[in-house]
């Protein structure tokens, strides 16, 4: 369906950069506008990859969490089993995808905070590195402390 979501986001960024930005003289709004255009450009390219990333990360977290020994208590094991068994979910329901992903992130965060043996910590860390490497949106806005 045209314009696609990506085309609309990229087009909005172009209009802001080419039509609006030249008319903005004050340095603060001009700087904010530059950051906004950069963000729109980044998500115009990457938004389409986000659902697949969330699904991949969720599946990997289920795998990592399932391999933990005492890192999960009985309640959390029950929650994990329910999330893993949710086979009837609609893969195109983005809200459900985000909610499941967030629940798994919570289980992983709790497991790490509880203290894991070194070998399990390394396995978790290996996944955390991989999920960072695969994160689909490339930051274009400067971070605080960067210039």
């Amino acid at each position: 369906m045209r314009p696609t979501i990506g085309e609309q986001l990229a087009g909005a960024a172009r209009i802001l950069a080419e039509i609006i930005a030249p008319a903005v003289d004050d340095p603060y709004p001009a700087d904010v506008l530059g950051g906004l255009v950069a963000t729109l450009d980044a998500i115009a390219v990457a938004w389409v990859d986000v659902p697949a990333y969330l699904a991949w990360d969720a599946d990997k977290m289920i795998s990592v969490l399932s391999a933990l020994g005492d890192g999960l208590d009985a309640d959390r094991r029950h929650t994990l089993a329910a999330l893993a068994d949710d086979v009837d979910r609609d893969p195109l329901d983005i809200r459900a995808l985000e909610g499941r992903h967030r629940a798994l992130l919570g289980l992983l965060a709790d497991a790490v905070a509880s203290g894991l043996p070194p070998d399990e910590t390394r396995r978790v860390a290996a996944h955390l590195r991989e999920r960072a490497a695969r994160y689909p949106v490339v930051a274009t806005q400067r971070m605080p402390g960067q210039h």
């Binding site: 340095p27 700087d31 906004l36 905070a113 955390l128 806005q141 971070m143 210039h147």
Partner: protein
């Protein structure tokens, strides 16, 4: 804004003829609103700057504390901004604000790797980090800072972890397994501080002014506190910030620490510096997430992606 600042200035000076001219908000700074203006009075023109709390920010700090630090530093060797008037309650401009003298000078984040000759850049590095040593040499008890801050004593490292973890808990929008791992490592490897000093908290070339090739002012004291001086060394030797703080082959972390140890007479054990390097990047992650929290609530004007690269660097730093 113009009317409100002018009313404040007129009131402080008890001079109805005082005027504010050339008011403009600059783009510098992520944590405070910076409003530059000239105070025109009796034919004279004085450059001033008002630093006002924004609605939302990457840092939540206290103007009353910042004002107290700057006033305490006025009689010391540390070149810090001069406070004119402070309104920590926000009665004047709607939000807490400090008005300071606006000093001349060049602010260049990457001056150490800029276009000046190598010898000049190394000289600037010496001058800059000698100012950091001078901050750590401030007699904070005599300056009255003991009534502004708690002295964390030997527990400065754990207190810093407590502080940044409490900020994280307040602002995180979703679980952060990477940061949980780092927090655990920090607690398990924390070292006792050998001494308590004033700590700047965000020392960098971008928070200094140069006149010619000399450092004239150290800026941005909003997260200053009492703690372990190695915290500042961990901040300025953070590998992630090497473009700002190092001159490859000529001003390396070992040079910086050696010169600092010689000037202060204090020690910076390698393991402690590394620990504070890790804390520095955790702090950066929390700062980014604080901005994201404020953005989602409609209180901050910039959008940051999750700090995934920083998290990856942190995992490498703790060898997880």
């Amino acid at each position: 804004m113009q009317t409100a600042i002018e009313a404040w200035v007129v009131d402080e000076l008890d001079d109805p003829a005082a005027r504010v001219e050339g008011l403009r908000r600059t783009s510098a700074g992520f944590s405070r609103e910076n409003w530059e203006f000239d105070l025109v009075r009796g034919g004279a023109r004085e450059p001033l700057i008002a630093r006002r709390d924004p609605v939302g920010s990457v840092l939540e700090t206290d103007r009353a504390v910042e004002t107290a630090v700057l006033r305490a530093l006025a009689p010391t060797a540390v070149p810090a901004p001069t406070v004119r008037w402070s309104d920590p309650d926000g009665r004047r401009l709607g939000r807490p604000t400090v008005i300071m003298d606006r000093a001349d000078g060049e602010c260049d984040w990457f001056v150490l790797n800029g276009s000046r000759p190598l010898e000049t850049r190394v000289r600037i590095a010496h001058d800059l980090y000698d100012r950091l040593a001078d901050i750590h040499l401030v007699d904070w008890r005599a300056a009255g800072l003991g009534s502004v801050f708690d002295d964390p004593g030997q527990d400065a490292a754990l207190r810093a972890v407590d502080h940044w973890e409490s900020v994280l808990r307040r602002i995180q929008l979703e679980p952060q397994p990477e940061l949980e791992l780092i927090l655990r490592w920090l607690r398990e490897h924390a070292r006792p501080a050998e001494v308590t000093t004033l700590v700047h908290g965000d020392f960098k070339p971008g928070n200094a002014l140069l006149v010619g090739d000399a450092v004239s002012l150290v800026l941005d004291w909003e997260i200053a506190h009492l703690g372990d001086p190695v915290e500042d060394l961990g901040w300025v030797t953070n590998p992630l910030r090497s473009r700002e703080h190092r001159i490859e082959g000529h001003w390396e972390p070992a040079d910086l620490i050696g010169r600092w140890e010689a000037r202060t007479g204090l020690r910076a054990p390698t393991g402690a510096v590394h620990w504070w390097n890790v804390l520095a990047n955790l702090k950066l992650c929390v700062i980014v997430l604080t901005g994201t929290h404020a953005f989602v609530e409609g209180r901050f004007d910039r959008i940051h992606q999750p700090p995934v690269s920083l998290c990856r660097i942190l995992l490498d730093m703790v060898d997880a």
